[in-house]
Structures are given as structure tokens and as C-alpha cells.
Symmetry: C2
Subunit: 500 residues, 2 copies
Amino acid sequence: MNDRERLRHLLAEISDLERANALLGWDQQTCMPPGGAEIRGAQMGTVGRIAHERATSKELGALIDRLRGESSSLDPDSDDARLVEVAARDFDKAIRVPSDYVEEMARVTAAAYQAWHEARQASRFALFQPHLEKVVDLLRRYVGFFPPADHPYDVLLDGYEPGMKTAEVQAIFEPLRGRQVALIKAVAAAEPVDDSFLHQPFDENVQWKFGVEVATKFGYDWNRGRQDKSPHPFTQAMGTGDVRITTRVDPGFLGTALFGTMHETGHALYGQGHAASLDRTPLSDGASLGIHESQSRLWENLVGRSLPFWRAFYPRLQELFPQVRGVSLDRFYKGINRVRPSLIRVEADEATYNLHIMLRMEIEIGLLTGTLAVKDLPEAWNARMKDFLGLVPPDDAHGVLQDVHWSTGGMGYFPTYALGNLLSAQLWEKIVQDIPNIETLASQARFAPLLDWLREKIHRHGRKFRPQELVRRVTGTGIDAGPYVHYLERKFGAIYGLKA
Amino acid sequence: MNDRERLRHLLAEISDLERANALLGWDQQTCMPPGGAEIRGAQMGTVGRIAHERATSKELGALIDRLRGESSSLDPDSDDARLVEVAARDFDKAIRVPSDYVEEMARVTAAAYQAWHEARQASRFALFQPHLEKVVDLLRRYVGFFPPADHPYDVLLDGYEPGMKTAEVQAIFEPLRGRQVALIKAVAAAEPVDDSFLHQPFDENVQWKFGVEVATKFGYDWNRGRQDKSPHPFTQAMGTGDVRITTRVDPGFLGTALFGTMHETGHALYGQGHAASLDRTPLSDGASLGIHESQSRLWENLVGRSLPFWRAFYPRLQELFPQVRGVSLDRFYKGINRVRPSLIRVEADEATYNLHIMLRMEIEIGLLTGTLAVKDLPEAWNARMKDFLGLVPPDDAHGVLQDVHWSTGGMGYFPTYALGNLLSAQLWEKIVQDIPNIETLASQARFAPLLDWLREKIHRHGRKFRPQELVRRVTGTGIDAGPYVHYLERKFGAIYGLKA
């Protein structure tokens, strides 16, 4: 084996271990009997530790060093050149974090997750507070392993949105916030929209069936995937040939399974769309969480909450569910797009969602830099909720305790949700230029041209390009909130009859 | 960590990797979409190779060597003493087999499996022959890695039934064969038994439901397991807290799912019954395949094909399936115990099953020692089928190509099925002594005393004792065919009205 073959071999082994662990995680959420939990934790710990050992091995480091020099003779966009570049980036990050830190973080977050769970059930932040303090301390130590950045939060952000800077995100979010708040106010003053017909009993199996039909029409390949139920919907790829989605079905609300399935299908189409030649390399993954979210949001919102889509699918929905036969297409379309400030992020509509994110990002920065103490968190949360959305949570469970992320050490993650939203609209503007009849096609349930476009421009590349580079290649600019704001104002202006 | 802790740590990591791979295998058979096959093979190969590397590491060898001396100060039956003993045995075997041999065997059997599959479909042994020749050559090489044994087949047998000798198995089988052949002849001359009512349409979901009820009554713990469908039923343990069974349902024959579920439940009760303290050690497994099969056969046959069992369960079966309401308990009992020589091992009844095994063992010995050439295999097979069971296969698919085992290199495996049969009856004799009202309990669907007995005598020990040692501890003797012969003669004598 030459160096390049050896590199591929070592990276393939690491990928195999990581994907084996991914399957163990998928099974844990979907199939595993309760009695299997304890030993599964040990098994995932071992496989993860061995993957980490190999991802930080001396041999791998030396190989990457030798190949880094050679790569200059390759086409810089070739798989081989990009593989060395990405492997080098992953390696450089991985070796900065000592393994005793990794183990301490695992221990602290395991306890913090448990505590968060209990605290949320009891709606008592105090139960979670000491654990979150430890997590924040550990995250500060984590930042210290890296060279000084413009902003300490950059280091956390880089774990989810490589190369993205705090200042860039703030520059995107700041003007956006004002526009979204203004839109919400205008909507609040307008004639309300009725969505009561979405809240009635819907047979779970029929909901499932309709979701499968939609996913199939979107282009999800069932020979390379499957769908299961899980309490928290997610998508997991074991390779491009095995990308699985899960969903949750609410027997009393149509929206959960319907839009959840579209959302996860969007993620899964990305995973099924990486070039098969990237399998068993670190390139076979999404470019970032923001890019991943742009795909799920595009299918869920730009397609799935659009009028053209429902021109195609509403007759079928009415066929399956007699209880909506008396609801006109227009009323249905407005109902699924109802805007209402709410307490819970995962239930938020398109017009309010990003505000939940901005609130969290401000708080995370405050905690990390020390301008906000963990003990003052509920107060800070509630104040911002009042400020951003005009609501005050009745208790911690509906406020600061609602999300799992912090208990797992996942700070810096939230902004990617909003970046994904923005990017979905930005991509859509480009799509409309390239496929001018996209709305007609959607109203005929013909999505192949859209999927082909996404495959060609985004999916097939996997992690070959950094997110910013990818966005620039596709749209000609960096991430830009403009298209999303226009999309919101146009869409909700029409639905709520707002003055332009 | 002291040496003993370090040993446990290293063995736990090996166990974690092996059980992670077990889950990947379970998923492959039950959940995986077709597109996942290729990368799954690579993932399982990597995890298996790393497990093997660690199972043959210098550190592990040195640790075992040091502890082997110390063990003399421990209670020889303690977990710690047995752990060193079993780890040493596993290590000594593993290091004898060079890793390039392991890789060659994996490559050859992957192709042989494929070829066997095609050969069976085409019913043409010639397609499989060159592959089987390579497998036999490799198995001869394998034997050569070990010190000379009394018989080369001993080395293969040891992989499945540790410590068992070819001569011992032959000494058990030889007299057994005559008795079973005589019984079959007597049955053939008697009034035939009707089982046509088992062959009619049975709703698959209701079959499933009844199987679940039976497994539950047997004592299968659903909090530590689950049941899925798969083309070939099997049981897979990820640990004592996660022991899964699969079954196959035939919509036109009641026996497949019914007895298949009981069989796998028997295996699973063994797996759920190992002491939890043995988890993540090599002791958390069956003592041998023969012992494992004794558990599945005991529940399937000694319990599940007995009259007391059906006194308890037949009313429920009739409730679920109106189509057997006109069939008396006596006719049903006789029907599920119908004896008829047949071509296919997995469909064989209790009276003929072992003959299928004896035929295979003779052939395997012939191939290994060179007294039988692979090319002459179909002829040798058919001659023995005529001799043992009075039947000649119409084609290779119903003869020499029916089983997968040889294509995977699994020679020496078959005898354990028959040893399990013998042992199930041998254990039952002991159980009847210790629980004299066992038949009354069975007729009341009360199986807790039986399960407790098996847990105490067999399950909890896992691999702590060698199979022969375990049998001797429980029954006072070695494996003995006497109880099985008496069981067959008594049972089928009564069913077919034979003279004693």
C-alpha cells in the first residue's frame, strides 16, 4: 500500500467503527429493549473510544503530514486532495482534546442528562443547575485547547458549522430579528387563521401511510433506507446505502408526523445523495449541520408547506381522512401555516422559529464568557422570551429546561437550525431561477428535477467543501438572510392579508 | 488497576466489540435495507478484525500467563478462577490461527456462500464443488495449526463442543442409530397419523400472537428481549439484558412459527439466565452449542410437543383458530408428533432428526481425512440417505446442497444438534426426579419451577464449566443416549400403538 491507500484504509476503519456505533445508537432509540440500556452504553463507549484512539493515532498523523505536502500536485477539488484536507482538519482538532477530558465530559454529561430529565419532569431548574455549571466549566476548558479565536464561542460553533464565526452569525441575525419581530406583530394584528381541523383524531396507521407516500414522491429510496417510530425523530446514515429515518405520530394532531416525516426525508435525501465513492471516508457526511438543516427545511417548508405541493397532495389527504373533506384547500394551506408565538422551539412556526434560536445563542455566549451566571439563567431566559416573543413561560419545563442540548454539552449547535432556515430560502431562490416551472412541477408531485438539482449542487459533494465554500459555489454569495425574510414577508403577507 | 482488573477490562472491551458486531449481524437479518449490505460487510469485517487483534494481543497473553499461576490460590469454581481458565483457553486457540489464514478463510467462504446459494437454486452441486474443495483444504490446514489430536475431526468439533472427542460422539451415535432405525421401521408399519389439519391457512398475526403467549408463559422476559421476523430463525444476545429471538411464519402451516418460537425461546431463556455478573466477560455465553441446543430442544420438544403442555394450551389455540375446533386434543397431539422420514433436516421429526446428523458427521470425517472426495459427495450423500432413512433425494437441492454450514466453513457443527437432542432428554429425566409433579405443572401452564431449575443448574453458569463437566455436575454422568432412546420409544410407542 502506498501512503494514499494506507490513509484511505485507516480512515475506512475509523468510519466503520463510527458507523457501527451509529447503528448501535439507532437501535437504542428504535428497537432495544429497556434491559439492554446499561450494556449498550458500555459497548458504545468502547467502540467510540477505539474510534477516537485510531482517529488520533501517531501513524495517521504522520501519514497526513506526508500527504499534506503532496496534495499540491493534485486537482484541489479532487476527492483525494479534499480527503487529505478534511482528514487533516479532523485530526488537528481531535488531537487537541486530551482523552481524559473526553472521558470527563462523557461522565459529566451522562449525569447532567439524567439530571436534566428529572429537572424537566419536576420543572425545577435548581436540580439541573449544578450539572450545567460543570458542563459550562468543561466547555470553557474545551475552548482553551484551541488557539485564541476572535470570540471564544467561535470554537464551539466550529464543531457544528466549521469555519463559521460568531460575529458573522450575529451580523446575519441582528437585522433579521427586527424584521421577524415586525412581521409577527403585523400578523398578531391581522385576522387570525384557524387550524382547529388539524387537532382532531387521525388514525395513526393512515398518517404513517400518507407520510410514506410523500417521502416516496420526494425521492426517498426505500431500498436504501427504512422508517421507524421513535420518541424524538431523527435520521441516521450507516452509509449511502442505508440512511434511516424515524418519526413520531400524534394521534390527535396531523402536523407532527406529516411535517416530521418531510423534515427527516430532507435529511435522508442528503445522506442518500452523497457520491457512493465517498463511502467509508470522512467525506461521506453533510458539509455542516446548517447545510443539513437547509435540506430538511427546504423539503419540509419550501415544498411541504407550499400551496403547489398541496394542490397535488390535498385530494389524497382528503381521500384518506374524511374529517378534512369539509376543509377547503385554501383553509388547509392557511391552517398549516398559522403563525403564533409559542413557548416551545420544536413547535414553532416558520415566522417565529429563528427567534427561539437567537435567544439561545445570546444565552450561550453569556454563559461561556461569564456575563451570565448559570444560576441567573431562568430569569435571563424569561426576560428574553418576553422581549422576543411577548410570552413568559409559566414554569421552567416550558422555558429554560425544554431542550436536551446543553445537558449533552451541545452548545454552539442551536445557531445551525436558524442558518439552515435561512439557507433553505436562499437555495430556493436559486432553484426558482434554474427550474422556472418548479411550482408547476410541485403541483404535479414531480420532484425529480428538484432532487437532481440538489444532488448535483449539494448532496454528492458530501463534506468535500466547507459550508461557506459550498454556499458560495451554489449561490455566488455567503449565507444571506435576505431571501428568507422576503420569503416570510411574501408568504405570510399573502396568508394574513398584510400590507406590503 | 491490578492484573485481575486489567484482565477484566481487556476482556470487556473484546466482549463489547463482539457484541456490537452481534447487533450488526442481527440488524442485517431483520432490519437492514438491501442497499446497506455491502458497507455492512465492511463494517463487520473491521469490528471483527479489531476484536481478533485484541483477543490475540501480547498484553492479554502476558496478563493471562501471570494470572494462570496465581489462580491456584482461588476457589477453582469462583468466577475469577474460571475467567482466567476460559480466557486462557480462548487465547491459546486464537493465537494458533494466523491472521492471514483468518482473512483467507473469510474470503473463500464469502465466495463459497455465494456459490452455494446459486448452486442450491440451480440444484447443481458442480457449481459449489470447487468452492467446497477450497473450504475442505483450508479446514485441513486449520487442523494442522493445533497439536496432533486422537482424530483430526476432534479439532473441528472442539470449536463447537469444547473437549468433545470424535470417538466419544461415535460411541454415543453408533448404538443410537440402530435403535432409531428400528423405531422408524416399526412406525412405518403402524397405522399412519394424520396431520393434514396443520396444513391449512392460519392468519399470520394470530400465529404470532399465540407464539408470544407461549414464550411469555415459558418465562421469556420481554423487557430483556424482543421478537422479529427473519427468513432463518435465530437467537442473538447482546448481553443478558438484551436477548432477541426471531421467527418465520408460514401462512399455510401451523408448525413453523409455533415450534420455531418455542425453540428460539429455549435458546433465549438460556441467554437471559446467565448471571448478570458475567456480562462483558467471555463467561457470558452458552457452555457449548450442544448445551445450547439442549435448552431449545427441551422447551420445543419435551415441553412443547407433550400432552400436558397441550392440555393447558389447546383450548386457547382452538379459541384463536376455529379451523382446529373439530380436531380433538388427542388427534392434535398425534399430528404434531407425526413421524415420517424426510429429505430435509430442518423439517425432520424427533424420531428421524439424529439420522440426518449422523449422515453429515460421517461425510465430514470422510472429507477431512480424504477417504471421500468432494466430487463424490452427492453420491455418498444419496447412498447414506437410502441406507439411513430409506429415501433418495430427487436432486441436489433436496440432498447435499440443503444446508448452509459447509459454505461458511462450519464443519464439526452438526453433531452438536444431535448431542443437544440427547441431552434434552437426559436433563428431563433429572428434572422429573427433582420436580415430580412437572407434568401437572405443565398442564397448568406453570413453568416457573422448571425455569428455576434450569437457571440454577445450567443457565446462570454461562461458560464457567466445560460442557462435559456441566453435564456431569447436573446428571452425575457424561452425555448418554439412553434417556433419549427411552423417551422416543415410550412416546412414539404410545402414539403409534407399538409393542414394547
